[in-house]
Subunit: 188 residues, 2 copies
DNA sequence: TTTATTACAGAACACCTTGTATGGTATTAT
DNA sequence: ATAATACCATACAAGGTGTTCTGTAATAAA
């Protein structure tokens, strides 16, 4: 991809992220974005057909990265990634680092917006985790219900955590999470 | 309140609710609302200063009713309300009835929007429920975390339920809910 | 290095949406 | 009957959206 393209794309993402951390999405105008990103109006629309699409692309970029890393998919920063083994704890570490701006956005006035995207990506990971962990016979509720529940619970835990300004360590949150889920420690 | 006022207010709510069940909130214009409600433009703005405010009022009207009923606060339809005693099961009954349009909205493309409002009202109820049910010493996680978790879990359960077209009975969902929360039956 | 391609800025634009203001009419309360 | 007020229709300015144009600079390919 052309270096110019990459730069403007990045500039737009950065500007939009910054604005999203300040005000609700529906009160952000394309005019503000391009002013903050310092690109021309036509340029913006050459990259993104609409503001909704920009949001979608941003989320995909953000979540794709963090979930790939959680699943051990090789990626750029694997060299200095020493987060622990459990998928959930691993994610909490990444979030605490705030590599990307996920936590900021998950706690902004647009939290629900991102919670939706976060869940829709995260649920696949949880599904695999559940399948690898228990026999179907042991479940006392439908698998889909359980997966949905765990997914929501994790996102809720993360939101609560960042509302607390992340006073707690990832391990503490992980322990809380396992506790309310009624799961014993030690499994990945 | 003037009958004319009540009628237009109702018409606007109805039109807005209908539109919300069809498309995302940010793509609904005031023009569409007043066309559907069949009221003049100036009239709309005499009632609601902005679309955001209309949404807020709608949510308050909707949730106030159902939560009051869940807490046993006397209200209009108490005469024919034979929903059971447990707060949660009681709510599920009301939702299944779909007295108001809460379930429709909680499953629409605007689900997160309503989930936010729903949670923010529901959390107070959960807080009281938790306090009345367990001693603080028994908690192995902070009270706020627990309350937040239960609130999110209930909303998640309701969303899952309506995504399943409410095939299950309120009792079944209630049982699932208690199960994943690790709670024994029998308490209100 | 030269050439062709492509992304860009800036400006102008038609269109839509918002929120306000006007004057006249019908409903309501007194 | 009368005063108050909620209503409609219309018009309007201000601002946002998405497109189109021209000229220029960065990039890739020869």
């Amino acid at each position: 991809m052309d270096r110019r393209q990459r730069k403007t794309r990045e500039a737009i993402f950065r500007a939009f992220t910054e604005l999203l951390s300040q005000k609700p999405e529906n009160r952000i105008t394309v005019g503000e974005i391009i002013a903050s990103a310092d690109v021309g109006r036509a340029t913006f629309y050459a990259h993104f057909p609409t503001k909704d699409f920009l949001l979608k692309e941003l989320c995909e970029e953000l979540f794709c990265h963090i979930f790939d890393s959680a699943e051990g998919v090789p990626h750029q920063h694997i060299f200095h990634c020493d987060a622990p083994d459990s998928v959930f704890l691993h994610l909490l570490y990444h979030l605490k680092n705030n590599d990307n701006q996920i936590l900021t956005l998950l706690t902004s006035q647009n939290s629900e917006l991102f919670a939706k995207y976060f869940k829709s990506e995260f649920i696949h990971l949880v599904e695999r985790w559940v399948l690898s962990r228990k026999r179907e016979k042991e479940w006392r509720v439908p698998k889909e219900f359980l997966v949905h529940h765990i997914t929501s619970s994790f996102v809720a835990a993360v939101q609560w955590w960042s509302e607390q300004k992340m006073k707690q360590s990832p391990e503490e949150i992980y322990a809380y999470f396992l506790n309310v889920l009624g799961i014993e420690e030690g499994s990945r």
